[in-house]
């Protein structure tokens, strides 16, 4: 069982707690956290910006994904969270995320109305674990962005193995993520543990153990085909 022998699946050596928090730069208390919403649909973009602003975020909208990439790559502006639409005319959300350095980029929420399995798999492989299905409700967007932003704080909590594992996942450090999950005491395990373990095992190439984990999570191992439902299920279990 993977949990009984965690070292068995380690591809990379586990890092220290300080290293786990690397790349997670919580917004400074002095300023409001900033979020960049990139969507070519003006009404959606405006809705997201207004929704987040009403929740106290410093939300900024960007219509062009290419302009957003330049804006993010310039280093002049700092954003705590990115909300990217998947389907955009010049550069889709995944390509935009791919253009950013995974070690320094802000956490990303990918919003899409019709992502398929391949898209989901590509997003997960890029460390994008937060998916917002369209059409979205204001409270869903708020909750997702907020959770993503506070994950770093959760990661510092005494029993936040899941948060730390997800932060590792955002950096595509699969073995570290698996190590965090396996270090999670069984008695304190929360609902999404098996699902995330299965995903991490599969992304790390441990298909057989992914299947076992998926079976325990009552999910079938063909998640990469049913990416939308899988993502929705993951989002549900992660709250």
């Amino acid at each position: 069982m993977p949990q009984e022998n965690p070292t068995r699946f380690f591809v990379e050596p586990p890092e220290t707690a300080s290293a786990r928090a690397a790349g997670c730069d919580p917004p400074a208390a002095a300023r409001r956290p900033r979020v960049l919403v990139v969507d070519d649909e003006a009404s959606i973009r405006l809705g997201c910006v207004v929704t987040l602003r009403s929740d106290g975020w410093d939300a900024v909208g960007e219509a062009s994904s290419r302009a957003a990439l330049e804006r993010l790559s310039s280093g002049h502006e700092h954003f705590d969270v990115l909300v990217l639409d998947y389907a955009m005319p010049d550069l889709d959300g995944l390509a935009l995320a791919g253009g950013l350095d995974p070690r320094t980029r802000p956490p990303i929420v990918l919003a899409s109305a019709h992502a398929d399995g391949a898209t989901a798999l590509a997003a997960l492989r890029m460390g994008i674990w937060d998916f917002q299905a369209k059409p979205m409700m204001p409270h869903e967007l708020r909750g997702r962005v907020h959770r993503l932003h506070t994950r770093a704080k959760d990661a510092a909590a005494p029993h936040a193995w899941l948060a730390r594992a997800l932060l590792c996942c955002q950096r595509c450090a699969w073995s570290e993520a698996l190590g965090e999950l396996q270090a999670w005491p069984a008695a304190e395990r929360a609902d999404p543990a098996d699902l995330v373990t299965g995903l991490v095992c599969q992304l790390a190439g441990h298909d057989a153990f992914a299947a076992l984990a998926f079976q325990r999570a009552r999910w079938w191992p063909d998640w990469h085909r049913q990416g939308v439902e899988m993502w929705a299920e993951l989002a549900r279990r992660l709250g």
């Binding site: 649909e41 009404s43 959606i44 405006l46 809705g47 997201c48 207004v50 929704t51 009403s54 929740d55 109305a113 019709h114 369209k134 059409p135 979205m136 409700m137 204001p138 298909d207 057989a208 153990f209 992914a210 299947a211 076992l212 079976q215 009552r218 079938w220 191992p221 063909d222 085909r225 049913q226 439902e229």
Partner: protein, 624 residues
Amino acid sequence: MKRWSFVSGLRVILLLILVLSGYCVWTARGLTNDLERIIAENYDTIRAVRDMRSAMTHINARYLTSRSVEKVASSPGTFEVESAVILERVATIRRSSSGSAEGAQVERIQTLVDEYLANYRQLFLLTPEDAERFGILIDALARGTEDMGARTQEIVDKNERAIFARRDAAVSRGRRFGWTALGIAAFSLLIYIYTSVRLTQGVFQPLRRLRDSIQQVRARQFDTLAPIEGGEELTQIATSFNHMAGELRAYLAESDQRVVEANRLNRAILEALPYPIYIADEAFKVRLKNPRAAALSTALKISDELPAAVRKCIDEAAARGCELIGDDLHRAVELPLPDAPAGPTPTYLPQVFRMAADAGATPGWAVLLMDVTKLRQFDQAKTKAISTLGHEVKTPVTSIRMTLHLLLEEKIGPLTPDQRELVEAGRDDCERLLVVLQALLELAQFEGGRVHMNLNPTAPADLLTQAEAMHGGAFRGSGTPFAAEPPPPTLPLVQADAIHVVRVLGNFLSNAAKYRTPGTPVTLRAEERADGFVRLSVRNLTKRPLAEAEQARVFDPFYRRQGEGAEGTGLGLTICREIAVAHGGRVGVWSKGAQVEFYFDLRIVSSSASHAPGKSHPLLRGAA
């Protein structure tokens, strides 16, 4: 004629037998008469003569040997007795004699007897003194005895001759009778042989010819006529047979004409039909094709073979054991032409018909390829239009919905009660519109073939367990009695995409909960069908039974039963049908009284592709 000859022959033979019998009787009677005459005349005469001679010898021995008158006269008794015998025998001879010659002889004997007896009577009257007279009389008696001997011998000889003559005549008659009978028998035999030969020739020869004619007709040489010959009955049979053969010939000619007409009509239909039609045998070799099919084959650069895609359809029909007909565009096949100019790929919807081997027909398959290129284009255009329109509509609706939700949160400003009511009404419409749009887009995805099914050998029990796990909780939470019947342990594995199958069952369960009679349970069950499917079904008792017309339409898009509200999108069951089609399975509904069952039939995995139950994924097997 033959019969008359036969009867005539029999008559002659009968006549000859009668003649022979009469002759036989006549001859026997003649022989009997001769014998009677021999016995009654000749033999009696001879015996009388013998008795008379004996008596005379007796008398002579008694008296002629006496030397004296005294001795003779002393014993006249012997004379008296024997003389009576002699007279009686003479009378007998007289009675037996016939004809004047014999009569004269009898008279002479009578005279000699009278003289003889008179001499003896005189002898007895003599006295011892008449010794001379005694001697004379003794001499006379001796002469008389001698004459009597001569005369009676003549009579005896005559009668013996008569006996011999009659014997010779009888022998002669017997021989003549024998020869005559032999001749008659020989003649009868000849007549019999002649009659038999004529009868054989007259009866069996025509029968043989009739038999040969029948055999020729049997060999389909209908122009053969049976010869009209033989007896009356044979003639009638031959005439009837010829009449029958003529009618058969006419019928065949008529049938041939009909066949030709039907063939012409069929060919005209085949040629007139705007679709390619192939008729193939069991070995999938094309036996017949209409001009359209010939043109298609030429364009595809195949000769006597079926197009590969069509062959697959026939294989599918053979595997299912049924014909493939209908207008389901999912079955359409594309037949790209090698040298065709750029444009839409020709698309055909095969209609596969099984041709049974009965009535002497060759078993095989008939395939009509309905050209659905345009229809497919229209359908794709429709699907694309729905998809595009859906997306185009969905985005602003999504935006409006988010805006309305933001307004209702009042985080960007308060609303008056009237404003809130208006915004809430708009939000509800947006929600409903989004649900419909989502379903439409999904249906368009299915219809466009963009949804891929990941079919794996799956245990039906696993599917029921998942459905119960995903939907049973909601049922029980709402207070609806729900029961998943344990499936039979012998259920085979099915080809299934578990997620979609569970979704279909969820849809059925949702409908059952919605339309069930309050207080009655909803049942989820699985059973094996005889046609290679396993049926997963949801049963419940409904408030309103489903009529047959409704059963046929309940899976149509946007179909709603009369009298029911507009709850739901009206596309849920349609999407279920699309999922079933993508599985190669089928969905349906039946209703009996208040009981309604929605079912999803999944194809059983062939034995070669099956896995152990409960191990539905290779990864699980590897990890176990």
